[in-house]
Amino acid sequence: MQKTNLNTKDAWSAVLGEIETQISRPNFLTWLKQSELLKTDDKSGVATVSLPNNFAREWVKNRYHKLILGSLRNLDGSIKKINYVVVSSSQPVSLKKQKNVFKPSSSLIDTQTDPKTNLNPRYKLDSYVVGQSNELAHAAAHAVIKHVGKRYNPLFIYGKVGLGKTHLIQAIGNEITKTYNNNVHVLYVTSEKFINDVVWAIRNRRMEDTKKKYRNIDVLIIDDIQFIGGKTATEQEFFHTFNALYEQNKQIILSSDRPPAAIPTLEERLRSRFEGGMVADISYPDYETRLAILKNKVVANAWNVEEKILETIATKVQNNIRELEGVINRVMFYQEFKNEKINDKRLEKIIGETTLPSSKKISADFVINTVAEFFELSVADLTKRSRKREIVEPRQICMYILRDTLKLSYPHIGEQLGKRDHTTAIHACEKITKAINNDSGLNQKVMLIKERLYK
């Protein structure tokens, strides 16, 4: 008999295919459907077959043994004996053996939010990376922790999405709880929760409870306060709560995605109160800060990543720290679970997938216009043959942006900006790419222009 080198899976489906024709369908489904050939040992000639339960084992062993042995031997003449074992077919769930089932208690640990303060202990001040962009906010936070309710009240922090507002204000809460050994009652709520509480209280005529809940607090932290704009009853309740807390020198910390003056539907009296304390902004982080954030994350998770990859990510992902973390997470995923070597192409793809560019279509003309407008030049200035310093830099920035965001070809870029040679465009892009990491002024300019582009 010729010996064929089939793998066990193929061999077993061949055997089952043969047996299926010889026994009745219900019998086949009941006894053999879930069987598997686990292994064959060439030396001893023993094949091991798994069955879902003891009944099937007894049945197959006593009734189908000859059939199975016969067909197995047709495939592999060396098999002399079959061992039948029971492998319970219970779902793979049972593999998670050490998982704690006591959900209600473990959920406390899982989500990790402190039920009393609503703060997530994950947010720590130590892990907050300080750079130029958030220095002021960070300093204000420290002052607030030292002098709760006395220094900057309210503390109003604003910045665009994904720049770390929530991290900072939760960290303040955590730090206060730690510093004052729980003697200070901190409460963190999102403005949505606050609105819901007020709506619930109005509906159930339980306003007093809600009032009591919010006015017996030493430090009230409300995230994304801009959402209460335009909700009259909530604004009113918040106004009174605000006053009540403020008069008792209780600390109020607020965050928003824009400065108080820019929240369109906010009532005047609230706006003036918000501006009465400390308004600190968090702007886009510079290259160093971004790199530091990435490195922190890598160290905290004990990951092993090439320096170069981090640098590339920090260079490419500029507008959002959350995206920054998203990219590094995915890079790690590819590296650890898929065992893939991350090359430039792969990295480019991950960044492209994670960071969603604005859906807005941007044309080359629009870029040139925006750059010209930013530097208070005319489009003609940019395209004419002048080599004045104050025009050369904007022109080079323009080329860089065309290349970096629109991915235009160098000849095309040269063409667009006054029929220049493609080598000029290459030179400009290389120069800016290099300079941008060392010159924060330049970086700032590029960032602001991009911001305008995507507005």
Binding site: N54, F55, R63, S94, K103, P115
Partner: protein, 370 residues
């Protein structure tokens, strides 16, 4: 085969094996039972299986001719159940059996003997545990109090048997509450090594409760099966594959505050107050000084409060804690004593219910987080 049987014996046997008769959707023969008669000891064995468990019930009768046959269960059962005669004769003729009693006669087509599953046997023939039926049944039903069938966690779809320190402990949990019952050392005899454990599926446990009645139960186990055996019945089942959670972690070692109160009054309070509980089935317990307040409120209905005087021990603290009232009542009803002890350690921590007189029984329930 030719037999003469007492109707009551036969009916008993049929009632026992009924719980293992399959629905036949896959294998029609599972709707039938196997009947084997031996002349030597005049024993007739009835067997049914659904491939999860198999039940065998042995009765005495007059065996005139030996044999093995496969009888459709539901027909046989409904005939025997409605007959009034005391003696019943069963006789096989080729592919049929004839059932004769006083003035009644029926002929039933029987199944193929070769198609009936082979009942697995336990490889380890040493008796692992021997225990009085009433002790085992009481413990099982107590442990079942805290269980619920769960699709996601097969490892807790069973009662955990642990033999340690010469004692047998049964544990049941649905992850929200837990019962630990220890059977006193002198009530079990065991050949097991300390630290041996296994998990018996919930359906098996319920079946054991229903069919095993008196005397002593012997339990035999091997790597993936267990056998429960009494004088005339035996039940073989698979065991749950997987590791039972480390339940000891969830039982509080010490309670900050213990409160003592009358069990019947507490049950009455929860039963009354629950009328107003919402969709989460929540009732609130509030302990302050010497009073336990049980209350519930529902915005569209109203609210109510029941006050019970209590004694406390340990840390004096004001605690407000919410529970699913089903879980509370289940726990309270499991005990027999007059006084109940509630062990608390804060509003988010599991609560222990126990009783001075029933030290071997512990009920732990998780509060609802509000």
């Amino acid at each position: 085969m030719k037999l003469i049987l007492l109707k009551s014996n036969l009916l008993n046997a049929l009632k026992s094996v009924e719980r293992a008769v399959g629905n036949g959707s896959r294998l029609p023969v599972l709707q039938s039972i196997h009947c084997a008669a031996a002349k030597k000891n005049s024993k007739i064995v009835f067997t049914a299986t659904n491939l999860e468990i198999a039940i065998q019930h042995t009765i005495q009768g007059k065996v005139l001719e030996e044999g093995n046959i496969i009888i459709p269960f539901s027909i046989l059962y409904s005939i025997i159940n409605s007959l009034v005669a005391e003696k019943i004769q069963i006789e096989q003729k080729n592919k049929t059996i004839t059932i004769t009693a006083d003035n009644y006669e029926a002929t039933i087509n029987i199944g193929e003997l070769e198609e009936f599953p082979i009942i697995p046997t336990i490889s380890n023939t040493q008796v692992a545990l021997k225990i009085k039926t009433e002790d085992l049944l009481e413990s099982i039903s107590q442990a079942l109090t805290a269980t619920q069938y769960s699709e996601i966690r097969p490892e807790i779809n069973g009662i955990f048997f642990l033999y340690d320190n010469q004692q047998l402990t049964l544990v049941g949990t649905d992850s929200f509450r837990l019962v630990e019952k220890t059977i006193e050392q002198n009530k079990t005899r065991s050949a097991l090594e300390n630290g041996t454990s296994f998990i018996v599926p919930l359906q098996t446990m319920e079946t054991v409760l229903k069919i095993i009645k008196d005397g002593e139960v012997e339990i035999l186990i091997d790597s993936n099966q267990a056998l429960f055996r009494t004088e005339n019945k035996q039940l073989i089942t698979r065991l749950v594959d997987g590791a039972f959670p480390d339940y000891k972690l969830i039982i509080p070692k010490e309670n900050e505050t213990e409160i003592f109160l009358e069990r019947s009054e507490f049950i009455n309070a929860v039963r009354t107050v629950k009328t107003f509980s919402g969709r989460a089935h929540d009732v609130v317990l509030q302990i302050e000084k010497k009073v336990l307040e049980v209350r519930s409120a529902e915005s569209t209905l109203g609210e109510n409060t029941y006050r019970i005087p209590i004694r406390t021990k340990g840390k004096q603290q004001k605690i407000e804690i919410s529970f699913n009232w089903h879980y509370l009542l289940d726990g309270l009803r499991m005990y027999k004593g007059d006084e109940i002890i509630l062990g608390l350690s804060g509003a988010e921590k599991p609560v222990m219910i126990k009783n001075q007189e029933e030290q071997q029984l512990i009920y732990v329930v998780m509060p609802i987080r509000v």
